[in-house]
Symmetry: D2
Subunit: 125 residues, 4 copies
């Protein structure tokens, strides 16, 4: 039996931006998160869209985006938090796996994972 998890306690639904030209649009159904991740938003280069899947429970969220077209997959883990009344942030850390040529794997495998932090906020109206 798959274990029951508390539903999201926060409103993750809708659009979030990371301030670096990326935007995500989340749909939440129970604990399931699905959506679209957009890069180069508001830039001369065309906006590109990538599939997103994940989970939300309580004020926590994890999600992953399929950047396979560019040879990488990224997974985020984070928490919804209140910056100030009415202003919200999803504070995350991420790992990005990118392909390492097969012949270099034994020594370099770990060098195929990048790490970083992202804060997502609601777009300014």
């Amino acid at each position: 039996m798959v274990e029951l998890a508390p539903p999201p306690s926060e409103d993750f639904q809708g659009i979030w931006e990371n301030g670096l030209g990326s935007q995500m649009e989340l749909s939440v159904q129970g604990n399931d998160v699905s959506g679209i991740y957009r890069t180069n938003v508001g830039e001369p280069t065309p906006t590109e869209e990538f599939d997103l899947t994940g989970f939300a429970s309580g004020d926590l969220i994890t999600f992953t985006v399929n950047f396979g077209k560019y040879g990488s997959l990224t997974a985020w883990a984070g928490q919804h938090t209140v910056i100030r009344p009415g202003e919200f942030e999803i504070k995350t850390l991420w790992h990005l796996a990118k392909n390492i040529a097969e012949q270099n794997e034994p020594k370099e495998l770990w060098s195929g994972i990048l790490a970083g932090a992202n804060s997502f906020v609601r777009p300014t109206p």
Copy 2:
């Protein structure tokens, strides 16, 4: 338009174990990964099952598991690799987000993320 990613180049389908009493059973459809993550496998404590969702492209995989029942969500990113002929490993790093009490968030928010490494291999027959 959602961007096209190369399909998985490796066989991620089926059962993988991490040697620490956890097991996952993956289903792959195109780039979409779904499945079940089991803990306490082979122990006196009962096996528990948790939902898993993610992506695979080339030899890369990302996935997240809904441990919301236990107040956490975990996201893995990694790569399929050959240890020796016929023996395979998914080498991953993970972030686990766990709930921080609201009143402690401003100072402790980052302390809500644990990090680690897991290697998943095929179960010994």
Copy 3:
């Protein structure tokens, strides 16, 4: 022979703050970084000081702080960058190792590492 590394290209010397009540005071000699890390700066609780050691080369810096009194050690890795002309930031990721009771180690060892991000800026005059 120990390999030669380029000297720091940025001015890491002096006081930096992380906006969460912590402050560090760095001394740089060649590639060697030493200093003091202060917590609870500007708060009613007394300021505490902890030893810091690390390296700087080019615009990169790594350092670790001895929080052993509180059962943990933390290591940062990051880069000096320009936010806007005359305004600088050291953007870092960190791992904090904290003690796990010996009997829990086999299963929980990885859960002894927390991860996070810190941005250090010059104190406002």
Copy 4:
């Protein structure tokens, strides 16, 4: 006043290997760790040596290595543990900061940090 930390409870002193052609030789004085990190050990390519500095307290250790000659600095955080009686391991996670060209920094800064895991054991006699 710099806070007092418990001394190391484990014997970190001496040579440790990561099984990927790297070796470190640690000296411990109180909580201070210094040493040399060697790469390409036992390979046709010549062994190179890099400075190491860090801390140990209880069974925890953090250290950083100056790979500045190769444009990177790495910081490890981990714990000494017993694999089986008489066999020890230092299980670590690391961040490697590598230089990002100044003009690419605003968007790519976080992509300058790699993450990974290393297990160090005593060399086989």
